[in-house]
Assembly symmetry: C2
Homo-oligomer: 763 residues x 2
């Protein structure tokens, strides 16, 4: 990959759409706190902005009225909350307040430095009265101390001596984004967060807010430190919902004065006394210098980058985009089991901060190979919410097993439209698949015994109740596959093959645990019997996987191929994404796919079909897939690579890599697309690298896109670090640390003890 670690804009657009986009692009997050990149000084009236700070897993309940009431419909959802605003700082040059919309912006740039783990904005500004300053603002959410957010606000007087004043705000009276003009966003924000106290204590402002329904609390603490000012005069003002500090100082021409604003966020999910915790954490944070914090941040990221060590030679632009995407993953992923990875990470309010199957099928494939601890945490989150999944299964009529929710924060279903939400039963298989992938990469049987097996058994059980035998084969009816343009179908190929895998591994884990003498407690807890396991095995063996003889493909479901084919070519460009322009019934009635569905199955469960079926299916589905979902192009890239369709593979890889930085889906303003970011990683390592984790071992079959001179990546396989290097001629595998491992390279089994060099095969 490009050695470049800085993504920079050399100009700061003040156009509203660009502003909102860049709020997402340059947001700071550390897996716990996320702060959108709003201008500290705000915007003039009339400008729309999503000004927000979010905490992973911190939510309130919100009413979700159903137009018609049906049994089991969800009427209350969780929604991520915009918490206290600590990013607001006004700068006064005597009586003139800094604003990019007044005076003259002489130059401006914004950046994110992915090695430093900071974002920045630098502006050279001439005030209406002619004072010139260079303002450099650096923001960081610390990966090492996840409750900490810092703003370093440096002002250099270019052509004057005088008084300057910082007004630093700490505001608890905030609400979620709403826009009466945008039908996709709440027109009026409900009041979720209620400020309960605000006070100064030893120059630190503490604001405590309560959620209105979920009974949660967050305490924010803010400390403003002035550096290098000549003398300072402070005024503190407090009101019921926030605090404001005015710091006046003298600046001389050519000198720089810096305000460092430390913000601490502590919530009551993670801490019994969040106010006390905030005090403690702030004290620790202030115990070391800002420079030290920057060093810690850099060291954390150095390790992060080293784990994957993805380097590409060639195509600088896309390489930088890849790095950006991987950076967003570490920004987005929770480092504890109280959170997960929201569809938009911590960059915005799109999808209300909900967690989807995106985590397991698009992001876990990265963490499982590079950060097994994070991967395990993500599974622990699912384990922690297993009771809610059981409850969801009961609501959906199942007497046994668990059904994971389509979208959630604390574990219960938040889908308001079950047809393309709760009906996506494949989420059960996806989570099971992630458990197995973690196991295959780590062989951590201890974790399987503790948590993984229970997830696998409970999800497997659900298939037994959701499906039924018909003429000797196991069918699964009335579910929705990944493709949301075709809903509530019978025998969705992806779902069935996913269920089959789930059942298969339930049997394996049961037997392994039995052999280890560790099944009894669990079997008793779950009332699981040998007969039930035998039933799993029988269903697995007899799973019906639709196949069309005439076309030689796997139909997406039982009746998919009977429907008319949507005329994608003939559809006006402005009618995409289709979901915003066509009634669901009309979409459902056509052969048209929002995203990879059968093609996804052919990647994940590739051994279920021969190459010819996969090839024909790819050709068939590619023509009718709009990629209106951000979960699609990465999968098409991977399968194209597998099929030797290199140009297509590269093109789809590019689509995936560019999605947010190029804003190709026109909605990055609502937040980044984390699943696609994991997908970009997959296009390289699983796609071009041909990596697969299977019951039979680790497989690699790297090819080289012609746009590249070479690339490399590192993986952690059963505790062994392996570096994979590909260039024009050869593929080299290096054992960096750990024990020797057997693996398959280009289909040939070998033992990696030190280094293996193989002639590169282009399939």
């Amino acid at each position: 990959m490009s050695r470049r670690a800085v993504y920079e804009l050399h100009d700061i657009s003040l156009e509203n759409d660009a502003l909102m986009l860049h709020e997402s692009i340059f947001h700071n997050a550390n897996g716990y706190i996320g702060v959108r990149s709003n201008f500290e000084e705000g915007y003039p009236d009339g400008y729309d902005s999503i000004r927000g700070s979010y905490l992973n897993g911190f939510y309130d309940y919100a009413e979700m009225k159903q137009a018609e009431k049906l049994y089991g419909m969800v009427e209350e959802k969780q929604t991520i909350l915009n918490v206290a605003d600590t990013q607001t700082i006004f700068l006064y040059l005597e009586d003139e307040v800094f604003s990019m919309y007044e005076g003259t912006v002489l130059s401006g740039r914004r950046w994110v430095d992915m090695e430093a783990g900071c974002t920045g904005r630098q502006v050279v500004w001439r005030s209406p009265k002619g004072k010139e300053v260079e303002i450099t603002i650096k923001r960081m959410t610390s990966f090492v101390r996840t409750s900490l957010f810092t703003i370093e606000y440096a002002v250099k007087a270019l052509n004057f001596d005088g008084e300057i004043t910082f007004v630093s705000k700490h505001e608890g009276d905030v609400s979620n984004y709403s826009n009466p003009d945008d039908p996709r966003v709440a027109a009026k924000s409900a009041r979720h967060l209620i400020p309960v106290s605000a006070k100064y204590q030893e120059d630190v402002s503490y604001v405590v807010t309560n959620t209105s329904k979920s009974n949660l609390k967050v305490c924010t603490a803010v400390k403003n430190q002035l550096q290098k000012g000549k003398g300072e005069c402070r005024e503190q003002e407090i009101c019921g919902h926030g605090a404001e500090e005015r710091i006046e100082t003298h600046i001389t021409r050519g000198a720089t004065v810096t305000l460092v604003k430390y913000s601490i966020f502590c919530d009551s999910i993670r801490h019994r006394d969040c106010k006390q915790q905030a005090e403690e954490e702030l004290k620790q944070a202030l115990g070391i210098s800002l420079e030290k914090h920057y060093e810690e941040q850099k060291a954390y990221l150095a390790n992060y980058w080293e784990q994957s060590a993805l380097e590409i030679e060639g195509d600088e632009e896309l390489s930088l985009a890849v790095r950006y995407n991987l950076y967003q993953l570490v920004q987005s992923v929770s480092k504890d089991e109280y959170g997960n990875i929201a569809a938009k990470g911590l960059s915005g309010e799109g999808y209300e901060g909900h967690y989807f199957w995106d985590t397991e099928m698009y992001i876990q494939p990265f963490f499982v190979l590079t950060n097994p601890d994070i991967s395990r945490n993500l599974i622990s989150y699912r384990y922690k919410t297993l009771d809610e999944a059981r409850e969801n299964a009961r609501i959906c009529g199942h007497k046994k097993g668990a059904l994971y929710p389509w979208r959630t924060i604390e574990g219960s279903e938040c889908s308001g439209y079950f047809v393309s939400g709760t009906a996506q039963y494949h989420i059960n298989g996806d989570i099971a698949h992630a458990v197995v992938a973690y196991y295959l990469a780590t062989k951590d049987m201890e974790f399987i015994a503790d948590q993984g097996a229970e997830i696998i058994f409970e999800t497997a059980r659900l298939w037994m109740d959701a499906g039924n035998y018909h003429r000797g084969q196991f069918h699964i009816h009335e579910v929705t596959g990944p493709d949301e343009y075709t809903c509530m179908v019978d025998n969705n190929y992806y779902t069935n093959v996913c269920a089959q895998y789930n059942l298969h591994w339930a049997v394996i884990f049961y037997r392994q645990l039995k052999d280890l003498g560790r099944i009894e407690t669990l079997a008793k807890k779950l009332s699981i019997t040998e007969q039930e396991v035998a039933d799993f095995e029988q269903a697995e063996k007899n799973m019906y996987l639709p196949y069309d003889e005439e076309l030689g493909i796997n139909p997406q479901d039982d009746t998919f191929l009977q429907k008319p084919v949507w005329d994608i070519e003939g559809t006006p460009k402005e009618n995409f994404p289709l979901l915003l322009h066509y009634h669901p019934l009309y979409l459902y009635r056509h052969q048209v796919c929002k995203q990879a569905d059968t093609v996804l199955a052919h990647f994940i469960f590739e051994d279920a079909q021969d190459m010819e079926t996969i090839q024909k299916s790819f050709a068939y589905y590619e023509k009718i897939t709009t990629h209106d979902s951000s979960l699609s192009t990465c999968i098409y890239s991977i399968v194209a690579a597998k099929l030797g369709l290199y140009d297509k593979a590269y093109e789809y890889f590019g689509d995936s890599a560019k999605l947010d930085l190029w804003n190709t889906h026109h909605n990055t303003k609502d937040g980044i697309h984390t699943a696609n970011m994991g997908g970009t990683y997959m296009t390289i390592v699983y796609g071009f690298g041909g990596l697969r984790l299977k019951e039979s071992g680790l497989y690699l079959a790297p090819l080289l896109p012609e746009q590249w001179q070479g690339y490399q990546f590192r993986i952690n396989y059963e505790g062994t670090h392996i570096q994979v290097e590909i260039d024009q001629e050869v593929c080299i595998l290096r054992l960096l640390s750990g024990e020797a491992k057997e693996l398959h390279l280009y289909g040939r089994k070998l033992l990696l003890e030190n280094t293996v060099t193989a002639k590169r095969v282009q399939a």
Copy 2:
């Protein structure tokens, strides 16, 4: 049928559930006004009551929030409004106010007289202080003057002389029913009706109210007349939202004093100046005596009963129930094209006053044979709302044609859950079927040319866009059939056969109109071409009708038979209706039917299949049908009769006849079930009578249930009145008036010139 025309309760239950039920059972309606049978004096605190007066087709818009927004989702519905309360009258015996909850009720009864067209309540009451009165209250909504509602409130002093006072209210500040404890009803009533003026003018109170969103108005006028009181003292009080008149008079022991309260309802849908219209109508109503009004009412009903002349000998109880059901049809049906027949008639707010396919498939079969004018009006309502149906088709993605809404008042879709609402495309075929039925019964080609053909062409067109050819056959995907426990399916048998019929008649009418030289204007208006008609014909001929070789039945849809069969026997009784206890996904995943679906098709389109298929299908579906819908048992009765399953036919007939009077669905409090009432008629005339209207003519094949000694009915066939009499031995057809007609009796074609007597055949 029983000669009895009075349904009476010899006791007045004051238990809350019974009160609400009887409010529906004894409501007064005339197709325009509906007034629930609330006690004039109201109820004590803590009693729940749906106090309401409704006007057919009079609505406001109400917000319908969608939990998740999707393209085309309906976010505003129409809802029937509770309009001004004119039924409230308090009676004071000096300082004691009459209430059935105080003092002693010495006797009480309520009744509906279906020949007189009145309801009544009679109470002998002893006040706490010992005064005894006999109160007799008679209420009528006039069929002859549909804006008129009268209450005749007679008080006889049994044991005292003294002053009595009537306080007669006229209240415009009313709202729809709400109940925070019932999840199926609005928790809080939105404010729909806003009183704009109230005044007295020549002892008449006029209250004008406006709807809050639909910009409609209603004016109510009330006149209180005192009869036989000795002297009277009136006090009138007016406020912004209503009027109250106190009339004090002297009564002597043994004498009767009567208050007659005339209420007039006029709305701005039907009248330009509804206040002026109300004045005018009241003047006319007061121009004749109350007795004269009663006579008019009786004469109107005499004619109504004569048209159908349904008489049954035997089973008094069910016979009375049949009469009750037919009475509700004339109460419910609009006499103009501004209204239709709501699912609950004008008896309550259930289903919000919406019109469904119930009209066409369950109620039109009665009117088409007995009141062709009403039948035509009902079609005109659909014609009048054709533009809204076209708009609905556009929303659903169709470039051509019309798609009638699942539920509506003014014509636009009000379904909040399209899966079992808008997706019921068969409503198009149902309306087309009603047009054809009207034509077959009347041969009124003039009406077809004017209105009917346009409906048929526009509905036919929709099938061409909704369906597609697959392997040479015409398929229709992603629709919902009548059975709401199975949704969004492919090739629902009922829908496909219904579409086939629709296409068939589009071709026929096109050619007939062409032959008559009357197609040009219409063809030009609709841009309909010969090619399009040829396409209709081809689709009709190649319509795919699913058939299962193994079972010898028509599967409900493409994959219905693959699903597991619901264990109805094993389902706890308290879990019915299933929809209130199971998630839709779970229901959809099983072979379980809420109602007749394929079996309905086998009645309506019986010639599409042979007898064996119909017989086997009936046996198959009967086992998996819960009849949780009120549209089901009547159809099962008819098909059972056709198949010679007489006991079943009679039992299902009984279920249908009893539904509301016995409150077997436990929800008659929300209003009567009009579709089932039409269904009861069908069980007799189409079921036992074997009547069918076909392209090839009129068919009769009457059988006699063993519970009856005989029965008879009259029909109007192409302007000829025919009486059908069945007894133990013979079936007699009498031509009562009109020209001789060819028809088929027991499969034999004959010419009815005068009387035909045939030996009765029991199939």
